[in-house]
């Protein structure tokens, strides 16, 4: 293999393998699933081209998210179906074990997606980067070009706004508890095999 080939192979082992899934998840929640593979490729291709500008290992993940986010933005600019893409933003998917749980999870996930999409884009981005992409405030700060302190403040506000939406949601509202929906608030781990759900 050529020296460049060896470098490429080493780079993919060091950079692509550890972060590909995270980037894919980030993209999958923000665009059509059929586009994810190309965008993942493009993200890491860009990172490869810019590897001399790459930050240290500890800052690599948010840097890759920035690339993915920019590519996503570019794609949306080019995309004639922007509205359709937007409507798909933040789709969530349950992986329950049985059919009843699946129905509950689908309802719940759809409601969460709906509520998140009602937030201002920045609030939605802050919450999802924090909760779903599991980035800390420093990393989010890199991605959104904010200081960690600002991230903390805005994240706090975004949670508050999301809480308002939850409280006014018919699904999560105590007023409909008797219908069975609200019992899932804060207790939905039975339908949620994800690590987050299990930890919730």
């Amino acid at each position: 293999m050529t020296p460049e080939g060896m470098t490429a192979r080493r780079w993919t082992a060091d950079v692509y393998e550890p972060f590909a899934t995270a980037i894919a998840g980030y993209l999958a929640r923000r665009t059509e699933i059929s586009r994810v593979e190309d965008l993942v490729s493009e993200t890491f291709l860009t990172a490869w081209r810019r590897r001399e500008d790459a930050p240290s290992e500890s800052a690599l993940r948010p840097w890759l998210f920035v690339i993915a986010r920019n590519l996503l933005t570019n794609q949306r600019r080019r995309d004639a179906t922007t509205e359709r893409t937007r409507s798909l933003l933040l789709l969530v998917r349950g992986v329950p074990e049985d059919f009843d749980d699946m129905l509950i999870a689908q309802d719940r996930n759809a409601e969460v997606a709906l509520l998140v999409n009602q937030l201002a884009p920045l609030d939605a981005e802050l919450l999802t980067l924090s909760m779903w992409d599991e980035l800390d405030r420093h990393e989010i700060g890199v991605i959104l070009d904010m200081t960690p302190a600002v991230v903390s403040v805005r994240l706090h506000r975004a949670r508050a706004r999301f809480a308002l939406l939850v409280e006014t949601s018919e699904y999560f509202s105590p007023a409909v508890t008797s219908c069975g929906a609200a019992r899932h608030v804060g207790s939905g781990t039975a339908t949620d095999p994800s690590p987050e759900g299990q930890n919730a």
């Binding site: 293999m1 998840g25 890491f44 810019r50 789709l91």
Partner: protein
């Protein structure tokens, strides 16, 4: 509702995970990176730089089949080989005997369309006409799918071109090519046949290890053990016997082919074969999983070596083959520049990668 409850709602929504999204395998990603580097080089005119060779024409060479490497994701090697050929002053016609057209289309799109010229050459009625047609194309890569038309292949040969190693051909095809047509191709300086085709002809339907073992035997019979201390590239500068078949590295199935037989240090994954005919010699590279059928750009590389205008350049081109890069000093050509620094590169702003 406190923050913990909010976070719990969000997390329990079970968002789509990266695991459900298709992502390229690590190997594929590596190939994408490598191919992109190549494409960028070519788009920046690196290939054209290589193509502006002052080398003699002399030989018109048709390289059948190597473009198929494109669809194997090994485009870099092919185009590197094409660049070598350009330096060597050969007319390079990438073609495919596969009805699908093989990888010619993609490759042509990378290095520039020359198909019209290649087709004109094919239609030439005489060697002189062929040479006149080929001269403007000298040092260029031309994509031209033969589409299984072996009459076209013979037409090329009748025009004095050299067919090289068409891996998909049948043994009969190879015999016809190597047996009759090649010997009739008088205007050419060197007569070559890709080793993949040679093995296909002599050992059809033979498992790879047997072929590898055969190759090992051939190597030992023809060149013997390399002289002590001459297992590096310098070995290539040694006087060569009239016919040399050597092998380097190992084959994938563990049937070890003598390493460093000719003296090319490779990555342990590719088999490198050298053929020598008279004063010219050929290397062929074989990717392990493609061993019996030739390798990425193997015959192209062979052509590059075979068409060297002077032996003094052999080492440089050998280095080019080893590195997969253009030689730094051959015919005053520059090696491909780093894809991130070449003029005209549209690097994204430092603060906004990806934009």
């Amino acid at each position: 509702m406190n923050e913990h409850e909010i976070d719990q709602i969000l997390r329990s929504a079970n968002p789509i995970r990266g695991e459900v999204a298709p992502v390229p395998s690590t190997q594929r990603m590596t190939e994408i990176i490598m191919n992109d580097s190549l494409k960028t080089d070519v788009e920046r005119g690196e290939f054209e730089t290589a193509a502006n060779s002052s080398a003699q024409i002399g030989d018109s060479v048709v390289d059948f089949g190597s473009a198929g490497s494109v669809k194997r994701g090994l485009r870099r090697f092919v185009v590197s080989a094409a660049a070598c050929m350009a330096i060597a002053g050969a007319l390079v016609v990438g073609s495919s005997v596969l009805p699908s057209g093989g990888g010619v289309g993609p490759l042509s799109s990378v290095v520039g369309q020359q198909s019209a010229g290649a087709e004109a050459l094919l239609r030439a009625s005489s060697l002189e006409a062929a040479k006149a047609t080929s001269e403007p194309l000298s040092g260029k890569w031309a994509g031209f799918p033969v589409d299984g038309d072996f009459d076209a292949v013979y037409k090329w040969m009748q025009l004095g071109c050299i067919p090289i190693g068409p891996a998909p051909m049948t043994p009969d095809d190879v015999e016809r090519l190597a047996g009759s047509a090649l010997t009739e191709a008088q205007p050419v300086r060197t007569r070559l046949c890709g080793l993949g085709a040679f093995l296909d002809a002599t050992l059809p339907d033979t498992p790879t290890p047997v072929r590898a073992a055969t190759l090992r035997v051939l190597a030992s019979q023809t060149i013997g053990d390399p002289p002590a201390g001459c297992d590096g590239p310098d070995r290539l500068m040694e006087p060569l016997p009239s016919m040399v078949i050597g092998a380097v590295s190992t084959d994938p199935d563990g049937a070890s082919v003598e390493t460093r037989r000719i003296g090319v240090s490779h990555d342990g994954e590719q088999l490198v074969v050298a053929l020598a005919v008279g004063d010219s010699f050929v290397w062929a590279m074989f990717a392990p999983n493609q061993f019996p059928a030739g390798g990425p750009g193997c015959s192209s590389m062979g052509v590059a070596i075979a068409n060297l205008p002077a032996r003094g350049d052999e080492k440089n081109l050998a280095g080019a083959m080893v590195d997969g890069q253009l030689p730094p000093h051959s015919n005053n050509q520059e090696p491909p520049r780093d894809s991130t620094t070449a003029p005209g590169a549209t690097a994204p702003p430092a603060t906004s990668p990806g934009n």
